[in-house]
């Protein structure tokens, strides 16, 4: 269980990025985090994964302050896909995915680790690319490789910061289907930052809307995908239609 209790966070002294955030991550569900650029979504994920230890307040992982848990133990429970990836070394897709096993085997791959790596590569449909170097494949393929690494890490909690970055429509849908399968088949708990509200509405069971470092509203897609919630969150006029019982946003300007 992951609980965020009145966490405030800042990078510099004068500006608070997160303000007294409270959040309980729902187990075995997909939670989507939405909000405008700079709302503090990545910062919140950083705090929840302890990459950015909370300055005020506390994040509890299974009842223990996450700052007091060994980095390696946290890495066995939480995997985190960062919003942007850069690497200074030249490695293949497979090398990268193998790194995902590090928390479990310390870099010395056993048979079960190799199996997990192969599974993750298969899941992300990277079999044909596994020997390719990361700087020689497309941005979307690279994104899939990083997600495969997260899957190989095989943790109960998975945090994905804009996983649909660089993915085309087909792979975006496929990605969200994989995420759904991770929850349904393997019982994982997923928190995912999404910019496309419609993806959030279609695949998440719970949506958290953030603005200026605060959680403005959380609830089911039906509750959150309304003009009265989204308009202030994004400072934009939303038009919401009902399509087969699902809320769909039309967000381009329509005079």
């Amino acid at each position: 269980m992951i609980e965020v209790r009145s966490v405030s966070q800042s990078y510099s002294r004068d500006k608070e990025i997160l303000k007294e955030v409270d959040l309980v991550v729902r187990e075995r569900e997909i939670t989507a985090l939405v909000g405008a650029n700079g709302a503090g979504k990545s910062t919140l994920l950083g705090v929840m994964t302890n990459l950015l230890p909370a300055k005020k307040g506390v994040v509890m992982l299974d009842g223990v302050d996450i700052r007091k848990i060994k980095t390696n133990e946290v890495a066995k429970k939480i995997a985190f896909l960062k919003q942007t990836q850069q690497l200074s070394i030249r490695i293949t897709v497979k090398d990268l995915v193998e790194f995902g096993r590090f928390p479990h085997c310390g870099g010395r791959l056993r048979d079960e680790d190799r199996e997990k790596v192969e599974e993750a590569i298969y899941y992300m449909k990277l079999e044909d690319l596994q020997e390719s170097y990361l700087d020689e494949i497309s941005g979307g393929q690279r994104q899939r490789a990083f997600i495969a690494m997260i899957l190989a890490q095989d943790t109960p909690y998975i945090f994905l910061d804009e996983p649909l970055n660089n993915l085309d429509i087909k792979y975006s849908v496929e990605m969200m289907k994989i995420v759904t399968k991770l929850v349904e088949d393997l019982g994982k708990t997923i928190v995912v930052v999404l910019h496309d509200i419609n993806f959030a509405a279609a695949y998440a069971s719970h949506i958290v809307a953030m603005k200026d470092g605060q959680v403005i509203k959380e609830g089911s897609p039906k509750e959150v995908i309304t003009p009265s919630v989204l308009n202030p969150v994004f400072d934009h006029d939303f038009h919401i239609v009902d399509h087969d019982g699902r809320s769909v946003c039309l967000y381009y300007d329509h005079e």
Binding site: T49, L51, T71, N72, K82, S88, I89, R90, G106, R114
Partner: protein, 356 residues
């Protein structure tokens, strides 16, 4: 012919079944490393032989005296510690340079370049100035070494704080740190050396004038175990360095306690640098050259082969360079050559990567 094809088929089948096939690429890069390492070892053996030859037969021939077995033995017994010393110092410098590059995410910096060496001279000067050259703190090589190492560890902890606080631009910051450190320590040292009395000054000068030709062989019994420990502790972590090359955030996400690693590494680096500097003086560019040469030849990100390759490259460079220098009767000091090549190389690196 058919038989061979059959055998080959059988082998491939076996390889496929045993899960061998997917790792072929890795064993390929592993094979390359083994070949490179063997070649380097052979070259080092040859360079060592050349070094011994240069100090015995070549010298005797030059002086026109015969090389008696007794004379050979006596020179050899003095030459062997030198070989060990050079080899060990080179290995330590290469290993700490590589770990330093990994933790600072840079291919251009090495610990020598940010002023660790100046701390050695500074410590010697301060000891003599405040306690006198006869005091055991200075005169006892063991105690003296412990003090130097301790101060270097303190400096490395200051650096640790600096890296943590300034992680965004840490390379430029470290260079500045080094510049300021060398500047302050250097001018402080000169000042003390000017106002101290003459005999003390000569003592300091003698203690700090160690270099490859004038090695402090006296501390070799202390130095070798420390060096072995530093190298062993660093190599033991080789898998963690692989993860750290992914960057601090990624490494933390994969369970490496990055700050703790950083701290331990800086301590190991400080200890290694202090012992190498005390024994063989400063070799500013040897680590940089060796590490980058190993990267070029091995073409891998894996640290175990890189550590071994860099260490052997460094030993080879130093021993070979020193032999050539002996053969040329000291016409060109080997450190001058290494520094010249090193400087040009760093220039090339900066131009190539277009960043520091």
């Amino acid at each position: 012919m058919e038989k061979i094809a059959k055998l080959r088929h059988k082998f491939l089948e076996f390889a496929g079944q045993s899960g061998y096939a997917p790792t072929i690429k890795h064993s390929g890069s592993g094979k390359r490393a083994v070949v490179v390492i063997i070649i380097l070892l052979v070259l080092i053996a040859a360079a060592s032989a050349l070094y011994i030859y240069s100090r015995t037969y070549a010298k005797a021939f030059r002086l026109g005296v015969p090389m008696t077995p007794q004379a050979f033995d006596s020179i050899l017994s003095r030459t062997i510690p030198h070989l060990y010393g050079m080899g060990a110092a080179a290995v330590v410098l290469a290993v700490v340079s590589l770990s330093f590059q990994t933790i600072t995410q840079s291919r251009v910096l090495t610990p020598s370049m940010i002023g660790f060496d100046s701390v050695f001279v500074g410590t010697q000067t301060v000891l003599v100035f405040f306690f006198g050259a006869q005091h055991f703190l200075f005169a006892d090589p063991f105690i003296n070494y412990l003090i130097t190492a301790g101060i270097m560890v303190v400096v490395s902890m200051l650096m640790f704080g600096a890296i943590l606080r300034n992680h965004r631009n840490n390379i430029v910051f470290l260079l500045m740190f080094g510049l300021v450190l060398s500047g302050i320590v250097g001018s402080g040292t000169s000042y003390l050396q000017i106002i101290m009395n003459e005999s003390d000054f000569f003592q300091v000068a003698a203690a700090t004038a160690v270099n490859v030709n004038n090695m402090n062989v006296g501390i070799i019994n202390l130095a070798l175990p420390i060096m072995a420990a530093v190298v062993a502790l660093t190599l033991w972590r080789h898998r963690r360095y692989n993860v750290m090359t992914l960057g601090p955030q990624q490494a933390k996400g994969l369970g490496v306690a990055y700050e703790k690693e950083l701290k331990w590494n800086l301590i190991l680096i400080a200890v290694g640098m202090s012992v190498a500097t005390a024994m063989i003086g400063s070799l500013t560019f040897l680590g940089l050259l060796a590490v980058n040469a190993a990267r070029e030849v091995l073409k891998t990100y894996k640290h175990l082969p890189l550590f071994i390759g860099s260490a052997l490259m460094a030993a080879l460079t130093l021993i070979l360079g020193q032999s050539v220098m002996e053969l040329l009767q000291g016409a060109i000091p080997v450190t001058a050559i290494i520094n010249l090549v090193g400087c040009s190389y760093i220039f090339f690196l900066i131009l190539k990567e277009n960043r520091i």
